[in-house]
């Protein structure tokens, strides 16, 4: 009886000691770094009433794990959202084990890939769903938060630190422009230069019509390299998708056709030498025809079943 009581007391003190220790660490950094010893003591050893969400990773530069770094950033976002939320308790802790600090842990868990997210529930053994399906769900902090909520009943609202780079850059740009304008305040003619305005409007329009917004939202690869033959294809085969390189090509082609049209008009209206005007005119119509038919042929290659072509098929 005494022994049992003794055991209980030890158990309790051990548990509270561990929790205090964990809280102390968590107050220092939201993701607790663990090595083999710590892992065995605080995660594997039995008296535990808190859940652990652990990221197994390899962040050392020599490991060359680019995914690990991205995943680590997302994990930090998640852990920080939890650490600084008003609902923060000692129910869940976030920790990470680096391969170079705790390779024995990797061996113990029979793990051979990083990054991996595991959840160690406060009671019982980890089950299959305690392994995060990285391939399926990706490592966005929101997805991780849903998984954590699912496993531990702790709802974490992911708060991303606002990205100040964009507004700062914009502010800087505005300041530079304002400064320049102030320096040249006696000569603001350049603001009334129609060519500048027309050129920037055209740039914007060309960027949009060549599908850069799609690239921005979907993030396609620059080009595709066939792994077996090593051939690089710049044009995506389907009409539903595109590569970045392809949109650049299309942008150039559109610009060339536009320039051709402008040249045609310039040739007819300007009061230059007749020879130059003729050259301009021929160049203009050449640009329009050549690049339009080229564009049409690219379109035809992508849009299967399209019957028409011009100059080149």
């Amino acid at each position: 009886c005494y022994i049992v009581l003794m055991y209980k007391v030890i158990f309790c003190t051990l548990l509270s000691e561990k929790v205090t220790q964990m809280m102390e660490w968590a107050s220092k950094r939201s993701v607790i770094r663990m090595n083999g010893d710590k892992f065995r003591r605080f995660v594997k050893a039995p008296p535990r009433n808190y859940s652990m969400v652990i990221m197994f990773t390899a962040l050392q530069p020599q490991r060359q794990c680019g995914v690990c770094r991205q995943a680590d950033e997302e994990f930090q976002v998640l852990a920080n959202s939890w650490r600084y939320s008003s609902a923060f308790t000692n129910k869940v802790f976030f920790a990470s084990v680096d391969f170079d600090e705790g390779s024995d842990v990797f061996q113990m868990l029979n793990m051979n890939s990083a990054p991996t997210f595991l959840h160690f529930p406060s009671k019982g053994k980890p089950r299959r769903s305690d392994t995060y399906e990285l391939q399926v769900r990706g490592f966005a902090a929101e997805q991780l938060a849903r998984w954590v909520a699912d496993r531990t009943d702790v709802q974490i609202r992911v708060i991303r630190p606002p990205n100040y780079a964009g507004p700062l850059l914009l502010g800087f740009l505005l300041a530079v422009i304002g400064g320049l304008a102030y320096l040249r305040r006696h000569n603001l003619e350049f603001l009334f230069n129609k060519n500048v305005w027309a050129f920037s409007a055209l740039c914007f329009v060309l960027i949009m019509t060549s599908g850069q917004m799609w690239n921005h939202i979907r993030g396609p690869p620059y080009a595709h390299k066939n792994p077996s033959t090593g051939q690089v294809s710049y044009i995506h085969g389907s009409s539903q998708a595109q590569f970045v390189a392809e949109t650049h090509i299309v942008l150039l082609f559109n610009a060339a056709v536009t320039m051709g049209m402008v040249l045609l008009c310039e040739a007819a209206t300007s009061d230059m030498d007749i020879g130059k005007r003729k050259i301009m005119c021929v160049a203009g119509i050449g640009l329009v025809m050549l690049f339009f038919s080229w564009l049409l042929s690219i379109f035809r290659a992508k849009y299967h079943g399209y019957p028409y072509s011009f100059l080149m098929s």
Partner: protein, 782 residues
């Protein structure tokens, strides 16, 4: 391509000379319009220097506009000719149903309409949640026609409304472009917009949707706005307000107008182009437009509450302040102080304006990530292929038109430049908004082409002595579009006076003209091809083609809806995915749980949850929602890819958004992260209600000798669960090609089944049971 042009050329010539007696073949008619307009562009440019009787010019413009209308109308009729006069797709069915309600019960009854057949058990207040412009327009036309004893069915009015309005759109585009550039460009723009696929996609016959009439209202409002900025007269501004009111009543896209016009005024202020005309136009427009727009029940007080409308209010205040300062400037002497004050005010206003825009668009961006919005294919960003597909040559040439406009800037060209830039941004973000980009692209391309033609069709003739020019020009107009005569003539003129002028030379000119015309011809051909192949399918009736070119009509949808109409109780409740809600209400006249209105996400999620749970759980949900029938679309037999299994992941995602405890998307994937319906598929998928209903008895069916029984043609896989038993549902109807399957939900049994299993004598075990799976989970350790 290039070889057969001369042949078709002569054909067009003859058809144009025969004037009114031309037949309505879509392809040739569009080419005719093109041709006519080209000549018009040349003529418009010429007429400036001539003392030409105005009669010719107006006759020519009138003819070209008429032909453009006719060409636009007839190229939208593919679906009617191939199938029949039928309402297309999904939303038009609701619009048709409401129009029908309007014509049978009257306008006030329509405004008060509470539709108890939608969103069971919630219902929907239709009168207060629709833009009534479309229904009222169709109802009015129907009323007038009936008054004249032309008795047409309201369905025919609805089917042909959009093609008729496309003609009005091309006329208002003509007017707007004429204000911006010149008449020739206007005619070209009218022809472009009549046949451009980006607009046809929303206005084929049978597509009875808001956009069909809204683009007309949009263009007309812009025309009147430009007119009122040019003249500064209250008359034009009031017209602009009325047109704006029509636009508000027709489409939610009016927000585009109420942001673009203030933006125009703001930029005019920045460019120091403030004038009394702008002040009068905008002040009148803002006040009257605001009051009028608030008359639409669905809009209500939004114009003074929501952030989208705040820019307009901000600019209004700014304009008053600016005008007041201008007034003070005449009275006061302290110039320095004033300019400083003005700068401060304008900067503050600009900051407010920009921040409002920023807030609005970040809000829009966030909305894209909600599953129900992301699940709609129209809300995707746009690839360059769709730009090219919808606009063809116009997408490459309209930047040139923009260049010319900015180079020769004036008040109204500021407007068109802003229109182009903002519309191209929105079209890039969302493929649906290509529709608002199309008109401006047509106008600017017309400007580009017209400037080229102006210089290359008639410049040499200008340098001749006036009388000769006059006659030649008249001669030219008599056979407008007669390209060959023209080219020959130009050659002749120049050979007469070779050395005198420093023109570009006839050869170059005629080559340029020929090539440009060829481009336009290719555009016309492309438009017709796209319209015929991509945008003329009603999607209610499907067609397939055999090897010999003969056609099979698959009329499964209507067959099934008709079955529902005839064989079920009048108050039966049909559960289906929201895509089919409007069609069920319109064609089968039965109560639906969710429809394309999608105003209540949680209700949709509940249906999604029922579809993605196992049969027992789904039965509870269906009992609680009083469901009598379940309708699903299954394309595995004929290889139809838009069926419910392909949409299934969206159902799961939407359900997961509301019920994360019960539905998890990852459960429906294989461990490798694939979505498969065959044996390797996830057991949760193979036992969910949607899977069971889709593939019920499909395992017994062998479609082909080369494939095993139960081979799904859409997903090219042999299904994984062939022995499907339904406990709470029974098959009620399956259409001819299995495209639509309807199940009846059984009532509760008289005697409850015993929960635990009695001694089992059944030797055959079902392969996929949840029990086995959970056992698997339990014994799995790290």
């Amino acid at each position: 391509m290039a070889e057969h042009h001369p042949v078709s050329d002569s054909k067009h010539k003859s058809s144009l000379n025969s004037g009114a007696s031309y037949s309505g073949n879509g392809r040739s008619s569009t080419a005719v319009a093109e041709r006519g307009s080209n000549a018009g562009a040349g003529g418009g440019g010429l007429s400036g220097g001539l003392s030409q009787p105005a009669g010719w010019q107006s006759l020519l413009s009138f003819t070209i506009l008429f032909l453009a209308w006719l060409a636009g109308f007839s190229s939208r009729l593919f679906a009617v000719i191939r199938f029949e006069s039928i309402i297309h797709e999904f939303d038009p069915w609701f619009n048709y149903r409401s129009t029908h309600h309007l014509t049978t019960n009257g306008f006030y009854e329509f405004l008060n309409w509470f539709d108890e057949r939608a969103w069971y058990p919630l219902g929907r207040i239709v009168g207060g949640t629709v833009y009534p412009g479309l229904m009222v327009t169709a109802g009015l036309i129907h009323y007038v026609l009936n008054l004249l004893h032309i008795t047409v069915h309201i369905r025919d009015v609805c089917v042909f409304l959009a093609p008729v309005f496309s003609g009005l759109t091309s006329i208002s585009t003509f007017l707007l472009t004429k204000e911006l550039w010149n008449q020739g460009a206007g005619l070209l723009a009218a022809c472009f917009i009549a046949i451009v696929p980006g607009y046809i996609s929303r206005s084929v016959a049978g597509s009875f949707d808001n956009e069909g009439i809204a683009i007309f209202a949009l263009q007309f409002t812009y025309y009147l706005w430009v007119k009122s900025v040019k003249t500064g007269s209250v008359f034009w501004t009031i017209g602009c307000c009325l047109s704006y009111f029509y636009m508000v009543s027709a489409w939610g896209g009016y927000v585009f107008i109420i942001n673009l016009i203030p933006l125009h005024v703001f930029v005019l202020l920045l460019m120091q182009r403030f004038s009394r005309r702008v002040y009068i136009a905008y002040s009148t427009f803002y006040i009257i437009g605001l009051v009028l727009s608030m008359q639409i029940p669905f809009v209500g007080f939004q114009p003074i509450r929501t952030s989208e409308h705040m820019a307009a209010a901000g600019v209004f205040v700014l304009l008053q302040v600016y005008a007041f300062l201008q007034y003070l400037k005449d009275r006061l002497t302290r110039q320095e102080f004033q300019t400083l004050f003005f700068l401060g005010v304008s900067v503050a206003a600009g900051v407010v304006f920009l921040s409002v825009i920023y807030l609005t668009y970040t809000g829009c961006y966030a909305k894209i990530h909600i599953p129900i919005i992301a699940s709609v294919s129209e809300h995707q960003p746009t690839t360059w292929v769709s730009f090219f597909f919808d606009l063809h040559i116009l997408v490459c040439t309209f930047p040139a038109g923009l260049w010319f406009c900015i180079k020769n800037i004036n008040d109204e060209r500021v407007f068109v430049a802003l229109y182009a830039i903002s519309a191209v941004y929105f079209a890039g973000v969302m493929v649906r908004l290509m529709l608002t980009l199309t008109p401006v692209v047509c106008m600017l391309s017309a400007v580009a082409f017209s400037s080229v033609f102006e210089h290359y069709l008639g410049d040499d003739m200008k340098r001749q002595s006036p009388p000769a020019e006059d006659s030649s020009d008249e001669d030219d107009r008599k056979n407008a579009g007669n390209l060959y005569d023209k080219a020959g003539k130009v050659r002749k003129h120049v050979s007469e006076q070779e050395k005198a002028e420093e023109g570009l030379g006839p050869n170059i000119k005629s080559i340029v003209t020929m090539l440009m015309l060829m481009l336009l011809m290719m555009f016309a051909v492309h438009c017709t091809w796209v319209t015929s192949n991509a945008y003329s399918s009603p999607s209610v009736v499907l067609a397939s083609y055999n090897h010999d070119g003969s056609r099979n009509i698959l009329d499964d949808f209507r067959e099934a809806y008709y079955w529902l109409r005839q064989n079920t109780d009048e108050h039966a409740r049909v559960m289906s995915w929201w895509d089919y809600g409007y069609q069920i209400a319109g064609m089968a006249n039965r109560t639906t749980l969710v429809d394309n209105n999608t105003w209540n996400n949680s209700h949709i999620a509940l249906v999604g949850k029922a579809m993605s749970s196992n049969e027992t759980a789904a039965y509870e949900i269906m009992r609680s929602l009083d469901v009598d029938y379940v309708l699903i679309i299954f394309g595995g037999v004929i290889g139809y890819s838009g069926d419910d299994i392909n949409k299934f992941l969206w159902m799961v995602r939407i359900a997961e958004g509301e019920h994360p405890r019960d539905i998890r998307e990852s459960d429906y994937f294989t461990p490798q992260g694939e979505f498969r319906v065959d044996k390797a598929g996830s057991p949760t998928l193979l036992n969910c209600l949607m899977y069971k209903m889709s593939y019920y008895r499909f395992g017994e069916m062998q479609l082909d000798f080369r494939t095993p029984p139960g081979f799904d043609r859409t997903r090219n896989a042999e299904i994984g669960n062939k022995d499907i038993k339904l406990k709470h549902l029974e098959e009620a109807f399956t259409s001819e090609h299995w495209l639509v399957r309807i199940y009846k939900v059984k009532k509760l049994e008289n005697r409850d089944r015993v929960e635990h299993k009695l001694r089992s004598t059944d030797a055959t075990k079902q392969k996929y049971t949840t029990k086995k799976v959970s056992w698997d989970f339990k014994h799995w350790t790290v």
